[in-house]
Symmetry: C2
Subunit: 552 residues, 2 copies
Amino acid sequence: MPILSGQMMQMPLSISSLLRHAARHAGDVEVVSRRVEGDLHRTTYVEVERRARQVAQALARLGCALGERVGTLAWNGHRHLELFYGISGSGRVCHTINPRLHAEQIAWIINHAQDRVLCFDLTFLPLVEQLAPQIPSVAHWVLMTDRGHMPASSSLESLLCYEELLAAEDGHWAWPEFDENTASGLCYTSGTTGMPKGVLYSHRSTVLHALGQVSVDAMGIGSRDVVLPVTPMFHVNAWGVPFAAPMVGAKLVFPGPRLDGASLHELMESERVTFTAGVPTVWLGLITHMKKLGLSFSTLRRTVIGGAACPPAMMRTLEDDFGLEVIHAWGMTETSPLGTLAHLKAKHASLDAEARRLLQQKQGKVIYGVDLTIVDANDQPLPWDGRTAGQLLVRGHWVVDRYLGAAKNGSDSPHVDVAGERWFPTGDVATIDADGYMQITDRSKDVIKSGGEWISSIVLENIAMAHPAVHEAAAIACHHPKWDERPLLIVVCKPGAEPSAQELLRFFDGKVAAWQVPDDVVFVDELPHTATGKLLKMALRDTYRDHRLPGV
Amino acid sequence: MPILSGQMMQMPLSISSLLRHAARHAGDVEVVSRRVEGDLHRTTYVEVERRARQVAQALARLGCALGERVGTLAWNGHRHLELFYGISGSGRVCHTINPRLHAEQIAWIINHAQDRVLCFDLTFLPLVEQLAPQIPSVAHWVLMTDRGHMPASSSLESLLCYEELLAAEDGHWAWPEFDENTASGLCYTSGTTGMPKGVLYSHRSTVLHALGQVSVDAMGIGSRDVVLPVTPMFHVNAWGVPFAAPMVGAKLVFPGPRLDGASLHELMESERVTFTAGVPTVWLGLITHMKKLGLSFSTLRRTVIGGAACPPAMMRTLEDDFGLEVIHAWGMTETSPLGTLAHLKAKHASLDAEARRLLQQKQGKVIYGVDLTIVDANDQPLPWDGRTAGQLLVRGHWVVDRYLGAAKNGSDSPHVDVAGERWFPTGDVATIDADGYMQITDRSKDVIKSGGEWISSIVLENIAMAHPAVHEAAAIACHHPKWDERPLLIVVCKPGAEPSAQELLRFFDGKVAAWQVPDDVVFVDELPHTATGKLLKMALRDTYRDHRLPGV
């Protein structure tokens, strides 16, 4: 109890309040979804809110208790949005599952989360039928479609139809009020190493994140925006956009399963999208498509790019050729995900274009609500000079305290104490400059340790990606008898391009110190990615660790 | 306790975290103050944060306990900002006192609040010397200046010098962590009727208000803005700007005591101000000055106008002649103060200029975090049709629950229960349209009740203000033997203009129903205002209640 309490109204920060606000004050604003069934579906916030209440009623009727987990395997669409609110808003936990993971990993996650109900798009019916025998906690299977699209038969016992479940409810149900620290959502890290770990969001953390997210120095989303989240809702809740858009009453456009360049461009144009957010790999496809057909954007103005470092060449293309404001951002499942964003400050207005660009290529500065620091191997803070690299730590209202099932201070939930404050170690290596701009120099595990010196794999990749013949590149550590590790470049060329290894390596001259230039280049047809579109360097290291370097 | 708790970091929403954020991530951003001493003072967020820690140390040294109130009688300036954070951030309550109130009212307020320490600008030394014998709770008197400006003698016992107090502290002090519902600030309503009532803000309500305030559909303040709060810090904390600007790292410019048109314009130009917020009366002075000298704004882009309805003619002048985006807003001490803002929605893009203008002249729509409704005399909700007027109720994270010293459900702290939810009755009469745009038609007590029908005094005033000869106008109820009340117009003409009463009344033809046209006009040299710049219609009613209307 405070010594003296303020006397303002007390109401919990609740996820349902976001949708209630949208329904009351932006009720006719559209939510447009390209669906698995093939149609373009249109609804409004009033309708979404009513149907979310029906979802809550249906879950109660199924016997799903408060606090229980409801899993989703679904694309970005209005039904997934209704589930987000119906599940969390009623006091249950919305567990978004990444369908791009291996089946065994999905089964492991569902068992770890102990999902009671599983809701899934038509796309994932075969997957769920395959998984069913391994996930005994699931008592109800809900296919997110209408009666007309239900399969004639299924190996799943008493497969339920989402639209029928909703139609059986009258919507006469009021959103309950409960403690704002109640668990609301669950998302597992993609797990490039070890088993996936669950991050259990709360109503409070989710609403505070949304408040920070819509601010001018974050995504700057307002009621006049039309927002298309390319990032899947199973990837850190589409970076929070399904919470931020109703908060400000912005129109939402969901791309469903079609994330290819042509489909995305068509949808952005037809729905007059002004803002989007996604990973660099999605932009690769979109840029290729648009360049090929000579297309442009009529309404799109801003995009946040994160999930992986945005190659500078891509940033230039989007800004110079397509007129977008590109906001480079950094975050992770453990940070909800924002993070930092590379907005410029007022003091930077006088910088020349190149200097501004260099700043924008950093991961950026925090918004209020999160803080960061860098420390050395002994957890001592390092200077913010833009040069000294250290382990990146983060803390804040929407940063994970500990993973699901981990003890508060257990070894299974890493944390670092600095000057009495608890920080989460990101696993990234970064610099911070005097203005607070953070730049990731590498993942701790991806950095190439050559003769005791560190070489950033990301720096090498960005240089390679700027070469006109290179479509995608990875730099990994390769074993070396003298230097311990030396950088190896693995390259996917653009169609028709056939550069030599020498030509690519000469491209590094003057861009990095001579000893940082990769020792060799391997050409491949494609690079392995994680389920969330990130380069899977662990797999590359497994394959190429003992690649014979020239001169060895 | 929640059924299942989220596992995110838990840290209180604290006022000190706003300034810590600014010092860490926007440390070199300037805070510029025109001071009572006459100079233009420049400092930075790093310095403000350090000095705020010294304020906290000094308060502890004075024996001011946690939870105790520290009163301020001060203009907008860096020392007042340091006090905001040093007082609240250390767990004490910052009580901003309106120096424009009558001395007896100020003494009443200080006694009601039981202020332990009183900090005041040089301007207010004579006032405080006069008040001192009547305010026994005050143990320490702090003059907010340096040694060079201290008076040779004062009737105040052991008058302290602010700069000396700070200089005695080393700043080695860490911001404490405490319950976010702790009281942080205290502001009394201006009290046009009855005794002033205290609104006791909390850290949580203040930080959530700031988060809402910076969003695009509210003030849209970002790190690149230069913000000049014209609204005094003793009036609802300058509408929260001293919390919002550090939250986003925006440069702050404080005008001190000089709020005349010439001083404000010069400061806005020299400091490259991009955003400001103030009441209509301040703009009257600024517009007059600028028109007289043919001035314009080089950097100012947006302004929020609230505190009283912005006359449509003023809005047109600011937009058409000075190129500003005028954001009409509504709020009150009891709502921290936002409230509503008259931003347009995406759907309004196709409206013509006049239709857009009509919408912008409404008080606007709520931002997430507050909600509103209108009810009839039996507390039954009324339709949102833009025509039906009812008592305006409000609720939200930063809305008062009850006044200082009032019992939770006492008659001294009004509230209305609607469908099980607690609402605060604003005392305003308003309509809400289908899009959620609220328009105040009158204060409950200002509405003119003619033959059982209501006539909005504000509608009449806005029409009168649009007449080229009118500088300011008030419409009040005048006693009438048949109709009970009839409208009387009281007018201040522009210099040199001498319109007849008939000419002014003819100006209403076709703009309102014939029975709503005022019965008479009284010409005066000036109108009485409250300490916060609002028309003091109660005083006008006292004077003119029995004015003899023509034909009576």
